[in-house]
C-alpha cells in the first residue's frame, strides 16, 4: 500500500477503507457464489451485467451530455458476437438447420474472453460509424440515429440467416454460471470508469456536458472527445451484451427490442446522470425490483381476486416510481455525487445531528 500511495502521489488517494470495502465485496461474492441457488445466482449475474451496460450508457448520457438510445443495439452486437464465435462447432449443424452457417464463420471458434472483447470492439466500431455523422452536427441527432441503429441492427440480425440464424436465434451457447465472470468484469469496468472520469479526459467529457461552446473555446475538441466517450460506452455495452448472451445461453433478435434500452435509461435516471455509484445502486434496485415486483402480475397477489392484479401492473408500478423520482429527486438518487467516504461521513454527520440520541449508520456502496 505504501507503494501505491507513492506512485500516485497526490493524484489519487486510495483510502484504506476502500481496500477493506473491496475485500469485503470480493469475499461476499466468493461466499454467495458457493451457496446460492441458480435463481438467485442468475438474478445477481443480471445485476452485474445491467451495471456494466448502464455505466456505459451513463458515460455518454450522464457524463458527456449526449443523448444516446442505442444500448439495445450495441448489446445485440456484443451478444451475437459471443454467440456466433463460442457455440461449439459440432452443435452448429443442428442449430442452423434452416440454412447452414456461412462457411467463412462455420469453423471459427474463439475462447469466451476473446469473443467477449471482440464483441466490445465491434460495438465500438459501430459507434464510430454512427458517431461520425452525428457529432459533426449540433443537437439531438444522436438520439434519433442510435434509436434507429438499434432497430436496424435487430432487423439485420433477423435476416442474416447464415450468420445469426435469423429469427430462430442461436441456442446452446456455453453458459457462464459463476458470479466471478460477471462481477469480475463489472468491478474492472467500475474501476476503469472511475479512473477515466477522474482524468483529464473525464473532465473534458464533463466540460462538454456543462457548456459545449466554452469547452471548445478552452481547447476541448468536441468531435474527438464525444467520439471517445461514445466508443468507450459502446465497448462496455458490447461486453455487457456478450455476458448477457453467455448468461442466458441463447440469443434471438426479439430480446433486443429498443424497449430494452429504457431499462438502462431508467437505471441512469434513477441513479443520477453523471454518478457512477448511483448507477451501480440503481442497477441493483431496478433489476431486483423488477423481479420482486412480479407478484403484482399475479391475479391472486394478496389472496384476493383483485381485478387490478394482472400482467403488466408491475410495469405500471415501475413507471409510477420513475415519476415519483423525477418529481421529488430531479437529479436521481445521487445526482452527480459519488458515494465516497467523505460523502458518507458528511451524510452520517447530518443524520447524527438530526437524530442526536439515535445513532444511525449508512451502508456504503462502491467507492474510488
Amino acid at each position: 500500500m505504501e507503494n501505491i500511495q507513492h506512485r500516485f502521489g497526490a493524484y489519487i488517494k486510495i483510502h484504506w477503507k476502500t481496500i477493506v470495502f473491496l475485500g469485503v465485496v470480493l469475499i461476499t461474492i466468493g461466499l454467495v457464489d458457493q451457496f446460492v441457488d441458480s435463481y438467485i445466482r442468475r438474478l445477481l449475474n443480471l445485476c452485474a451485467i445491467y451495471t456494466i451496460i448502464s455505466l456505459g450508457m451513463n458515460l455518454v448520457n450522464g457524463f458527456t451530455g449526449q443523448f444516446s438510445l442505442g444500448q439495445a443495439g450495441f448489446m445485440a452486437v456484443g451478444a451475437y458476437t459471443v454467440a456466433v464465435f463460442t457455440v461449439p462447432i459440432e452443435a452448429r449443424a443442428t442449430i442452423f438447420y434452416l440454412a447452414p452457417m456461412s462457411p467463412l464463420l462455420a469453423n471459427i471458434h474463439l475462447p469466451f474472453i476473446v469473443a467477449l472483447l471482440l464483441g466490445g470492439l465491434i460495438s465500438a466500431g459501430f459507434a464510430f460509424l454512427i458517431g461520425s455523422p452525428c457529432f459533426r452536427l449540433r443537437g439531438d441527432y444522436l438520439a434519433i440515429a442510435t434509436l434507429g441503429f438499434s432497430e436496424i441492427i435487430r432487423i439485420v440480425f433477423t435476416n442474416t440467416q447464415t450468420i445469426t440464424n435469423g429469427a430462430l436465434g442461436i441456442k446452446s451457447i456455453p453458459t457462464i454460471t459463476s458470479l466471478w465472470w460477471t462481477y469480475g468484469i463489472a468491478i474492472i469496468i467500475i474501476v476503469l470508469t472511475v479512473l477515466l472520469i477522474n482524468s483529464s479526459y473525464g473532465r473534458a467529457f464533463k466540460s462538454i456536458r456543462e457548456d459545449e461552446i466554452a469547452a471548445e473555446a478552452m481547447g476541448v475538441g468536441l468531435f474527438k472527445t464525444k467520439m471517445t466517450s461514445f466508443m468507450i460506452s459502446a465497448f462496455f455495452t458490447g461486453i455487457g451484451g456478450g455476458l448477457f448472451a453467455a448468461l442466458l445461453g441463447t440469443v434471438d433478435p426479439k430480446q433486443f427490442y429498443f424497449t430494452l434500452t429504457y431499462n438502462f435509461l431508467l437505471i441512469i435516471v434513477l441513479g443520477g446522470m453523471g454518478s457512477i455509484s448511483g448507477t451501480v445502486i440503481a442497477s441493483f434496485i431496478v433489476t431486483l425490483g423488477q423481479e420482486w415486483l412480479r407478484f403484482l402480475d399475479e391475479p391472486m397477489a394478496f389472496g384476493l381476486d383483485l381485478p387490478i392484479f394482472r400482467p403488466g401492473l408491475r410495469m405500471v408500478v415501475f413507471s409510477a416510481l420513475l415519476m415519483v423520482i423525477v418529481l421529488f429527486y430531479r437529479k436521481g438518487l445521487m445526482g452527480t455525487n459519488e458515494l465516497t467516504w467523505d460523502f458518507i461521513d458528511k451524510k452520517i454527520k447530518t443524520i447524527k445531528s438530526k437524530f442526536n440520541r439515535k445513532k444511525t449508520s449508512t451502508q456504503g456502496g462502491d467507492d474510488k
Binding site: G9, S199, D211, A214, A215, A217, M218, I232
Partner: protein, 267 residues
C-alpha cells in the same frame, strides 16, 4: 511585429452586416481595446477571431511564437475554436460560461486538456506519463488560482462562487490554456467602481507577469482609457476610429456614436 491581424473581415448574418471591413493589427505585448455602443459587432468580431463564426469575407492572421521564440504567420480564418486555442488564443465570455457543476479547480484543469499528450488509455491506466502530466497540470492550475485569489475556493462548485469571483475564474481558465493572446469580453461587466479598479490593476499585472498580449471589449471607459495602448471603436459594424486613448477620446465621430449628437443637440 503584429501578433494578430484581420484583413477586411466581413461577417454577415442574412442581410445584417454585423462586422464590416474590420482591419485590426495588434502588436505583440500590446493591450488593445475594442469599444463601441451596444450592438456594434464587438462580440461578433471576437467570435470571428476565435473561430466560433466563419467570416463571410476576409482573413484572420495570427503569428504565434513557437518554443524557440520564432514567430510565423498562420491563417486561422474559419479554423475550429479548439484548434485556435491550441495555437495560443484564449478568451473569456461576456455572459459567464463556466462549467457550473465542476469545481473551481476542475474548471481550470479542463483548459489544460489542450496540452494533453497522452491517450485516454494511458490516462485511465494511470501510466507514468499521464500521472506526470496530471500532476503538472494540477500544480500549474493551483498556481493560477493562487494568482487570481481563488485558491480558497478550489473545491467549491463554480456555480456557488460570487459573481466577481466567477469573472476571475473565467480569466484563470483562459490563462490555463497557456495563451499568447488573451481576449477578454467585458471583464468588468456588472462590477462596481472598486471592483473595476481592482480588475484594472489585475489585468495590467497579468499582462506583464504572463508576457501576454491582451485584446479586450469593455464599456467602463475609465478602465479602457487607463490601460489601453490602442483602441478600436466600432459602430454598426464599421471601424469609426482607431488610435491611442487620447486620439480616440477627441474624435468627433466617437463622441457622436456614444452621445448620439444629432440636429437637436447642435441647435
Amino acid at each position: 511585429m503584429s501578433l494578430l491581424k484581420t484583413e477586411n473581415v466581413v461577417m454577415k448574418f442574412g442581410g445584417v452586416v454585423a462586422v464590416n471591413n474590420l482591419n485590426i493589427d495588434i502588436k505583440k505585448g500590446e493591450l488593445a481595446a475594442l469599444i463601441g455602443p451596444n450592438g456594434a459587432g464587438k462580440t461578433t468580431a471576437f467570435n470571428v477571431i476565435t473561430g466560433v463564426y466563419n467570416p463571410t469575407k476576409g482573413k484572420v492572421l495570427f503569428s504565434p511564437e513557437d518554443s524557440h521564440g520564432v514567430a510565423s504567420e498562420i491563417d486561422i480564418t474559419g479554423k475550429k475554436p479548439n484548434k485556435i486555442t491550441h495555437l495560443g488564443i484564449a478568451r473569456t465570455f461576456q455572459n459567464i460560461r463556466l462549467f457550473r457543476e465542476l469545481t473551481v479547480l476542475e474548471n481550470v484543469m479542463v483548459a489544460t486538456h489542450v496540452n494533453v499528450n497522452y491517450s485516454f488509455l494511458s490516462a485511465t491506466l494511470r501510466l507514468p506519463k499521464a500521472v506526470k502530466g496530471e500532476l503538472k497540470a494540477k500544480k500549474d492550475c493551483e498556481f493560477l488560482l493562487e494568482r487570481l485569489g481563488l485558491i480558497n475556493f478550489k473545491d467549491e462548485k463554480a456555480s456557488s462562487l460570487p459573481y466577481g469571483k466567477q469573472r476571475h475564474l473565467e480569466i484563470a481558465r483562459a490563462l490555463a490554456t497557456n495563451p499568447q493572446l488573451l481576449l477578454l469580453d467585458e471583464p468588468a461587466a456588472g462590477m462596481n467602481p472598486q471592483e473595476t479598479d481592482a480588475l484594472t490593476t489585475l489585468i495590467y499585472k497579468l499582462k506583464t507577469d504572463f508576457d501576454l498580449t491582451i485584446f479586450m471589449i469593455e464599456h467602463h471607459m475609465d478602465l479602457v482609457m487607463e490601460i489601453s495602448d490602442h483602441i478600436y471603436v466600432l459602430d454598426f459594424g464599421c471601424t469609426i476610429a482607431r488610435g491611442t486613448p487620447e486620439q480616440v477620446q477627441n474624435d468627433p465621430k466617437v463622441i457622436e456614436a456614444y452621445l448620439g449628437v444629432d440636429a437637436d443637440v447642435e441647435d
